[in-house]
Symmetry: C2
Subunit: 230 residues, 2 copies
């Protein structure tokens, strides 16, 4: 499948790399491809600049958002949450119309210190904001509840644990579930929480995730939903 991945940070790299490895034709969308490649500094977490990572993944396309979106059959939003709407506007409403957009971003607000708070939550969510701004796109919120290495390789965490999907379009959720299965997620662990407003639940959970990250001193964890047989 031809897939556009928006975002050049660790989440975009993990998803683009995995999708390419699975045989998809992946184009990473970034505002200014030349500037992205010219960066020489690591990010604030110590991750190497995109160009260094890209050298190991020459099969990946790199293009302006509009060009990445135009040729894509499916798109992935792996941008910083604060920049998501602007990036998707650059990709172009028409280029995203009718397509599935897997939204992995979280609306983190770092302006109040660490752990971050959220610039939207409770009575709205980033997933809903994106769906409202792109009404002809089939937005599916998924994978935003974990570290990016666990997203694309659930075996990084032992045993069975869960991933959530939220969205208005049942067929779009099926397509995303198939992608998740190809990443290694067991079918019964892909939990459909309903419409896109359920993204409030998965985005707000990240407030707990951040504290667990602190308490465990590791991002290599996830939650498993344990249910009584009734």
């Amino acid at each position: 499948m031809r897939i556009a991945v928006f975002g050049t940070g660790p989440v975009g790299q993990a998803l683009a790399g995995k999708l390419a490895e699975l045989g998809h034709e992946v184009t990473v969308g970034t505002r200014d491809p030349e500037a992205t490649l010219a960066r020489t500094e690591s990010d604030y977490l110590g991750n190497p600049p995109f160009g260094v990572w890209r050298e190991a993944h020459p099969e990946l396309g790199l293009a302006r958002p509009v060009d990445a979106a135009a040729g894509a059959e499916l798109a992935v939003n792996a941008t910083n949450g604060a920049g998501s709407l602007e990036m998707l506007e650059l990709a172009g409403r028409d280029n995203l119309a009718g397509k599935v957009l897997m939204d992995v971003a979280n609306p983190l607000d770092f302006s109040q210190g660490l752990p971050p708070s959220f610039f939207v939550s409770n009575t709205d969510s980033l997933g809903e904001q994106i769906q409202r701004a792109f009404p002809d796109t089939k937005v599916v919120k998924a994978l935003n509840t974990m570290n990016c290495e666990v997203m694309v390789d659930p075996a990084k965490v032992p045993g069975e644990h869960d991933v959530f999907v939220c969205g208005e379009d049942a067929d779009a959720k099926r397509q995303v579930a198939e992608l998740l299965q190809s990443f290694g997620w067991p079918t019964e662990r892909i939990r459909d929480l309903g419409g896109i407003s359920s993204a409030r639940g998965t985005e707000m959970y990240v407030a707990l995730w951040l504290r667990l990250w602190g308490a465990l001193d590791s991002g290599y964890f996830n939650i498993a939903v344990v249910r009584a047989d009734v």
Copy 2:
């Protein structure tokens, strides 16, 4: 131990009943004990009125908040979140000073329909509001992340799963952890998330809990944190 439990709903009943069963001297605090006993209607979820439940638990005291708090060594806030601060004010700052308050309430806002949203979240929490209003009380947020039957009997859900504690006072968290152990929670599943501001995490998780409740069509579930060995 002499324990005051504020709140006469299903959560208060579950906790008061379990604590009495474990041999504690429990007094349920309610604004107007006579009115509470006189109620004859089930609540909106179909739970029978408090008086019916109390007949099966004659060992429990029932008193005004101020009297329940005055004699208690430890207090439990199991009120509706929207009424928590008012109830605790009625209990009296002096009566709660120096004591551990286990806060189980969630700041649910039903005014926007179902599932409820939150009247405080993101940059503050109900746990923090209570700690600020009662600076001489040792507030420990705990157990607010699950159905009340699971709170007092974790074996209601099979296997191992988790409960979180948040609070400023290490000794108060130890006391609450001992109570949780007496309910059946394994020591290694009682996760200390840090100070009371971490209650933002456990309260916001409830937004996901509510959607899981809908998707699973059951409240008999919990989450287990699964961590990679690193």
